[in-house]
């Protein structure tokens, strides 16, 4: 197959990507799974309006049909209510942390890649500095400094996980800025801002979208790790908080950590499957292979 097979289809690239995405069973499964989880997180609290912090039964009651369907945790709180209500916080942290990380990453990478030279040198040294810091430790320090709330947790995760996006963006920019269509923009007198954001970035997006998808999954796991270490926001129910506060009871009461653990697993799996599907759909090389 040759590189000019794409125009031969005569189809808009976005529509073609959607078609490719829909054709991949993995991606569809991921999408459906994530859809169900998002629906649970958004609609669940309306169907189960009970406060997830309420004490419903004796602490660590096993799952039963009489009292708590999925059991209670060490404080006597209902695990099922916690799962239904905790989804919002978990997804919110995942999404906003990924957003922060992608925004920082793209900005740093784009500027470094476009301008090159000293600016590139400085920005890449800064990036390396962040890369060599152990991410989890660094975010623990940040969360501890600014007291754990959903906002600070999301910001701290974003602040430690943008480096891969920055490197990817820089590489794309280095490649694209030498191409003719960019040179043409220079010739017609477009400003640097327009060239960076309006011309190169849209063309660099496909791999960045894939990487952003994975960033969501990573951020959710990160939030769980922070909560596991006792650095979650104790005033907002999240799956990570549930695992973190019940982890010492896993030997005697498996239900308090297993159910929220499964939810995190399924969410991250769904996001990863979608990421894979997007990768297949947006990567022209892979497309040609089909």
């Amino acid at each position: 197959m040759s590189a000019n097979s794409r125009p031969a289809h005569g189809e808009h690239p976005t529509r073609e990507a959607l078609r490719m995405f829909a054709r991949s069973p993995v991606a569809v499964v991921g999408f459906a799974l994530l859809g169900a989880i998002v629906a649970l997180a958004l609609l669940g609290p309306m169907l189960m309006p009970a406060d997830p912090f309420d004490i419903v039964a004796a602490p660590l009651s096993p799952p039963s049909f009489q009292e708590a369907l999925l059991g209670t945790d060490q404080q006597g709180r209902d695990v099922l209510t916690g799962i239904v209500h905790g989804g919002r916080a978990t997804l919110a942290v995942g999404l906003s942390a990924a957003l922060v990380s992608v925004l920082i990453g793209i900005t740093v990478g784009a500027i470094a890649g476009f301008f090159g030279g000293t600016i590139d040198e400085i920005l890449m040294r800064v990036t390396e500095f962040f890369q060599v810091l152990p991410a989890l430790l660094f975010s623990m320090v940040l969360v501890t400094l600014f007291t754990p709330t959903l906002m600070t947790i999301a910001l701290s995760i974003g602040a430690v996980s943008w480096t891969a996006t920055a490197r990817l963006t820089r590489a794309e920019f280095l490649k694209l800025k030498e191409l003719d269509f960019v040179a043409a923009e220079h010739v017609i007198g477009a400003g640097k801002g327009r060239i960076i954001w309006g011309v190169i970035l849209p063309n660099a997006l496909p791999p960045l979208i894939v990487s952003a998808t994975f960033a969501i999954g990573t951020a959710i796991l990160f939030e769980a790790s922070l909560s596991f270490l006792g650095l979650g926001d104790p005033n907002r129910m999240s799956w990570g908080l549930m695992i973190g506060s019940s982890r010492s009871y896993i030997l005697s009461s498996w239900w308090a950590v297993t159910f929220p653990g499964c939810m995190i697993f399924l969410t991250v799996l769904a996001v990863s499957l979608i990421g894979d599907g997007l990768n297949d759909a947006l990567n022209p090389k892979l497309r040609e292979r089909r």
Partner: protein
Amino acid sequence: MRARNFGVLIAAAALTLGSAAAQEPKRGGTLVMGQSSATTHFNNAVGSGTGIMIPGAQLFASPIMHDDKWNPQPYLAERWEISTDALAVTLHLRKNAIFHDGHPITSEDVAFSILTIRDNHPFNTMLRPVEGVDTPDPHTAVIRLKHPHPAILYAMGPPLMPILPKHIYGDGHAIKTHPRNNKDVVGSGPFKFVSFKPGDQAVMERFDKFFLPGKPLLDRIILKLYPDSQTSLLELESGRLHMQPFFNRVLELERAKSNPALTITSRGYEAIGGINWLLFNNKKKPFDDIRVRQAIAHAIDRDFIGKALHKGLSRKATGPIHSGFPQHSAETTQYAFDLKKAEALLDAAGIKRGPDGVRMRITCDYYPGDEDGQKRIAEYMKPALKRIGIEVEVRTPADFATFARHMASKDFDISMDAAFAWGDPVIGVHRTYLSTNIRPLVFTNNAQYANPKVDELLATAEQEMDPAKRKALYVEFQKIVTADVPLVWLTELPYHTIASKRVHGLPATIWGAAAPLLDTWLAD
């Protein structure tokens, strides 16, 4: 029925006697003892906390010790007298007592130690009335007091009054940072210093020339740090760790209880007297209104905390003094779990439910580091107070310094907190209630409670030498304070000792493991 019970009783008594006869104390052996807070040095004349007091009480002897009924017993002082005006305490020291380097222990050392403690120990009320110490001869020390000070009988106990060698610690070097506080320690107690690896373990060995003949029974004590309660339980289960005092994790205690190779006991924590409580910022609106404090007290189900959260391992606190104390009284105002009453009190205080059902939003801090005693109860406040329309936001303190800052600057609404009494109300109870102790410092009167009647009672009780009269004063104090409810006393801290069944003679005096392990021994 009665007859059968009686039979069981006889059988049980026979069993106890039988096993006692079968188990002759055995000399020798190395006891591995776990600890949860780190030892930074061994000089308990200038430091408190179990990390310092447990090894300190093994390395240094104190003038007197106590049995399990609060009775003072001879130790380094073979006898003592209190003058009729109660302004002089005369200690008669044993003549055969020597330090680990062979120097004799004299009244000079006792005088030096007492003044060092008075001027440097964090419990500054403990020896505050001491004016000076006279040394008429090498084996007599006379403590001169500015006013009668009954608490001194406990302030002279093992965790609080180590007798230091003056020829080592009196060399002019600042005592709090003395280089010999954590290396080459020369003590006066039953065990001598062998080695110390900070953050890991301390090794102590029997001192053969100890002044009490035949004591101690053990050859060595290895004091090992286990900051994580799960690790220490696993080590206990595997038999590598023999004993862990000051253990307060409910989950692991439950597991230890069901292990036939382990025993658990709550004895030996009477004098430590730990109580946890919910503190109100009494100067801040609306907690300055007694009805609000009463309402919150009525909304807390202390049975749930004790029975469900602590699995029955903690006792309900009835007031400011621990039930193990001779001054304790249960004739106090109790706040039964009663949500209707709580709501009525809040209505009367003018704090009405808003359209969203919320009366007010408050924050709750907690002392970090004690999950079952503090964090889980702080988290419990959220659903508990929501029932009466109070939304609680739990403020997780980043570290102890953050918590201490919130307390010192009175930047809090309500807070979970705990305190230890250490042998006498003067040492560990007064500080929380005296209006003169409202200071910008953690573990002072942070409720900012001020009641002139209470100040007066405590001032009188501090100097009352007659135990019965003194107790009456404290009974009155407990009545008034619980009626004023500047804090809600929740539970006594669930401290226990977990030990392998091989360990005999578990520390059972009122000071537990913060007293010398003279009679502890290991069976094969």
